[in-house]
Symmetry: C2
Subunit: 207 residues, 2 copies
DNA sequence: GCATGTGAAAATCTTCACAGCA
DNA sequence: TGCTGTGAAGATTTTCACATGC
């Protein structure tokens, strides 16, 4: 394979493939063709093949892909094959929901610390984690916590991001409804479901 | 302006513009240039101008865009200028969280009914809505409920989608971690934050 | 025969450069 | 001068067709 940058769009699809392949694996599938996969997840077979081809050829002609091998490979590409320690800031409604969200462990995320600025919350235990004061964020240094999760109100999000970056975080999941500015080496993924569902009426047929 | 299909990518950005413009409006801005907006939300000024140009020219050269006018226009394009009645199915943890989510009203979504198959939940009130048995989904017919929100476990999602479509729903927000099959005229937006954050480690610099 | 992997064509989206207007 | 609106160039992504290998 010629080296080429893997398209961002491909990276976006990999977690979907991973999810569906995990399903096939649970059902006992050993091999799967791009056609079978495409039927399941609604993408074209050639799209799937192209996506996989970016990171090397490991399908077998005439047979398809080895399900387990494919899962391992995708996890490796996405760097989901190791544990990632994360810290969450903002233990309000949203923060508590995120702490309880089972999806994180599935992908190897481990939330090891939680912070809040409300003295009433500090010291309380949520989901096995004792909430600390936000001033303690700097204690994350050298603790190998590379992911920060921001679930604070909009006004506090930039300040929170700064504190996290200062403590060595290089990836941020931002649940605040605003953009945050960070050094170029830090990756931010903003999650705002409102932005997604606001598109729905546009695509619905007029009555 | 020549007529051209508005790119999907533009449609994805419109809700972001809307969010930020609403912020500027709150702060009392009357006009805003594409440059100011771009500084705030991290897109190129020409990208913003191009996006707006797809739905007609209404900026003023040398001045910028009228904030209120722009907000009204974007809402109209996205069809967010009218109330959309919605029904939610699956009043578990996720469903309850979604019911309580304030973002919906902001965009004119009004959840008018909730369903569950658990007899213990049926009849209870959550967020002002009495939970009904799933068999009552068909009662939505002719009630002008065009949006369905699916927050049931994966196994039940296709069945739920079918019931909703049969009752006249033409847009679905699917929170189940799987694809659902619907007639072409029905638009599905699948929301799965796990798919978003699974990409984060890929973009983080290696230690 | 069957299904992958890939160069090339087509479609789509982004960036640019600049004409045009207040 | 300052900023919009847009055709055209450039980049990226998707689709296709088919050579290749089991």
């Amino acid at each position: 394979m010629n080296y080429r940058k893997i398209p961002d769009e491909t990276i976006k699809r990999l977690p979907i493939y991973l999810r569906d392949l995990t399903g096939f694996s649970r059902e006992g599938y050993k091999n799967i063709s791009s056609k079978e996969l495409s039927g399941h997840l609604g993408a074209n077979p050639w799209q799937i093949r192209k996506d996989f081809s970016y990171f090397g050829a490991f399908g077998t002609c005439g047979v398809g892909y080895d399900v387990e091998k494919l899962i391992t490979q995708i996890k490796k590409i996405l760097k989901l094959d190791t544990i990632h320690k994360a810290a969450l800031v903002g233990v309000g409604n949203l923060g508590s929901a995120v702490l309880a969200y089972p999806g994180f462990t599935m992908y190897g995320f481990e939330i090891v610390a939680a912070f809040d600025n409300d003295p009433k919350k500090v010291g309380k235990k949520t989901n096995g984690i004792t909430v600390q004061d936000v001033s303690k964020i700097s204690n994350l240094k050298n603790k190998d916590v590379k992911i920060g999760i921001i679930t604070v109100p909009r006004q506090a999000s930039q300040k929170t991001a700064d504190a996290l970056v200062n403590s060595g975080v290089t990836g941020i999941l931002n649940f605040s409804p605003c953009r945050i500015k960070v050094p170029k080496k830090v990756k931010v993924i903003t999650i705002n479901i409102a932005l997604d569902f606001a598109r729905l009426p546009y695509y619905m047929p007029a009555r």
